[in-house]
């Protein structure tokens, strides 16, 4: 049991790292994926309004977290005081506890796995103390993580497969009815949930499990099996570090086999869409500012409902940005009429 939990934790950390990198990948002005920007941003909270309840935002200060904060702040600042607690590598649980004690928030918003882990330590150190309601965001495996945090709900960070499939359908002309996904055992529950959602849009997810230590050759075999035996129409690459561990691994497994299979590949990192070295056909990434609006909606809902967080299930992210390798689409899958009107970044 513990071993299973440890494995889940380790995978969550690895996935968290990948999601963090995905969160740091930004769009540049030229239309191409920009390198990760990790420079912290100086954050200034709005002036305090006497009598207004306080929201404590505990978060890293890299650009995409700041983007979420921007979207959130623009919605809530008329109703709440906002206090931002920057979380960095040196931050300790006691620092977070002190920030909570000092601000006495009506609600805490915790962004990323590290921040949530610190808050979990805060709760563990005071197991019977009353805790403010918590909203968890921008963290991997949120549905699982949330069960360990008292008085919490949140918004998942992984973009649901169904969102990606619907977008892919609106970009390419080849039909998308069966989508293959390769996953490691720890992702089993996640994939099961995705199957249910995808079925609503008449997409069948065809899952294929691989070992935790899958090799490039093993992964290549799995992709080949999905393409040739299972006859899938597209492949969905999960944001799992072990399946995209480094450039060599990606080249040997994903790039080689998907090029051979001539299947559209859906990815969750915009940098994987690169017409000069084709890999991903479509990248679907969270729209961070819109995620802030979604979080604000959640905060208002909870506030109106007496902060009954326990009765509020973890939400799925509603808004995404799309990056498409148009050259690859035109060459292999056909571009839908008007598709370019609906793409955030069309790369050629």
């Amino acid at each position: 049991m513990n071993g299973g939990n440890n494995m889940t934790s380790r995978i969550a950390w690895l996935l968290g790292l990948l999601l963090y990198l995905a969160a740091c990948a930004t769009f540049d002005d030229e239309g191409g994926p920009a390198p990760a920007k990790l420079t912290p941003v100086v954050i200034v909270d709005p002036p305090t309004r006497p009598g207004a309840p306080t929201l404590l935002l505990a978060m890293p200060t890299s650009p995409n977290f700041v983007e979420v904060r921007k979207g959130l702040l623009s919605e809530v600042q008329k109703n709440f005081n906002v206090s931002t607690f920057a979380v960095g590598p040196e931050t300790k649980a006691t620092d977070l506890a002190a920030a909570i004690e000092a601000t006495k928030p009506a609600c805490v918003v915790l962004m990323n796995n590290t921040t949530i882990a610190l808050y979990r330590q805060v709760q563990a150190a005071a197991p019977t103390a009353p805790m403010p309601p918590a909203i968890l965001m921008m963290a991997s495996f949120l549905e699982e993580v949330q069960t360990h945090i008292r008085r919490s709900t949140g918004i998942a960070y992984e973009v649901p497969g169904v969102t990606a499939f619907v977008h892919l359908r609106s970009v390419i002309t080849t039909p998308i009815n069966r989508v293959g996904v390769i996953y490691r055992p720890a992702f089993g529950k996640f994939v099961e949930r995705q199957k249910v959602l995808a079925a609503k849009e008449n997409v069948e997810i065809v899952p294929l499990s691989v070992a935790n230590d899958v090799t490039a050759a093993g992964l290549r075999d799995a992709i080949h099996k999905l393409a040739k035996d299972k006859k899938v129409d597209a492949i969905w690459m999960l944001n799992d570090n072990a399946l995209v561990r480094d450039q060599e691994f990606i080249d040997e497994a994903w790039r080689a086999e998907t090029a051979d299979a001539k299947l559209p590949l859906i990815v969750g990192v915009s940098n994987f869409v690169e017409p000069n070295s084709p890999l991903g056909t479509l990248a679907i990434v969270p729209d961070h500012e819109a995620l802030g609006l979604q979080a604000a909606n959640l905060i208002f809902d909870l506030s109106d409902n007496g902060w009954q967080v326990e009765s509020h299930a973890v939400e799925l992210p509603l808004s995404v940005r799309t990056v498409v390798d148009v050259k690859l689409v035109q060459a292999n899958f056909g571009l839908q009429t008007d598709a370019l009107k609906h793409i955030d970044k069309a790369l050629e």
Partner: protein, 250 residues
């Protein structure tokens, strides 16, 4: 007595000059902004259309070379733009202009009408009956309170929960994830929704009045002619992109 009043008189004179100065400067503020944009009148656009705002912006910039056009896809960005950009003209749907106290100088029309009905879309069956406790998704057009009021007017109801989304395409996930019982959208956007989804979408016409289509409000009278003429000259496909097929002068 004199010595007592002198500073007061000086202060009054200074105040009078300040008031006069502000009065003189105020009407020219938009012109200063236009000059800052290479002399072109500044036009800000906020519309929810069947295209990304970047596509709409590029198209309008190409087709309206005499204007400096910025297109906002989200309400909050539009709000910031209005506050800080001091536009000479604003393009949006009528309720957005009305909320800001702006009057349309040009009203877009489609099929001879300047407004369109909105619909309530849901999955499997129309959302009939009272909406008490139901969650309804809608694009954030007017901020939290403004959008709630707008929706109350459209639905002729006040007791439902509202879920605002940033963009029109974010409405579909609300239905896919069962995060809302229904979504409200312009009837002209229904075709695109049905094209994207295989959910069994059912719709219901809303009891509220139809909503005004794209309109242009000129805020700076000095540039009225150039703005109005530029928009009137737009070609058919661009007008179609804006959700209209002609203009009328109210």
């Amino acid at each position: 007595m004199n010595s007592f009043h002198r500073p007061h008189r000086h202060a009054s004179r200074l105040l009078a000059w300040l008031v006069l100065g502000v009065g003189l400067l105020q009407p020219y503020q938009p012109l200063q902004n236009a000059a800052a944009q290479g002399g072109k009148p500044v036009v800000q656009v906020f519309l929810q259309l069947d295209a990304k705002s970047s596509v709409v912006e590029k198209t309008l910039q190409d087709r309206l070379p005499d204007l400096a056009v910025t297109v906002f896809g989200r309400f909050r960005d539009f709000e910031d733009g209005l506050a800080n950009g001091h536009p000479d003209a604003v393009v949006s749907i009528t309720p957005v202009l009305q909320q800001r106290g702006k009057t349309a100088s040009l009203q877009g029309q489609r099929g001879g009408k300047g407004s369109e009905p909105y619909v309530l879309a849901s999955v499997n069956q129309p959302l009939d009956g009272p909406l008490t406790g139901k969650t309804i998704g809608v694009v954030d057009l007017l901020g939290r309170d403004g959008t709630q009021t707008f929706l109350n007017g459209l639905l002729k109801a006040t007791d439902m929960k509202i879920k605002r989304v940033a963009k029109i395409e974010d409405l579909l996930p609300l239905l896919e994830f069962s995060a809302a019982d229904g979504i409200v959208l312009p009837s002209s956007m229904l075709a695109r929704l049905l094209e994207r989804t295989r959910l069994a979408i059912k719709t219901k016409d809303l009891p509220g009045a139809p909503v005004g289509l794209t309109a242009v409000a000129v805020l700076n009278p000095a540039v009225r002619d150039v703005v109005v003429k530029s928009f009137q000259k737009l070609d058919g496909p661009t007008k179609q992109l804006l959700g209209i097929d002609s203009w009328s002068v109210p």
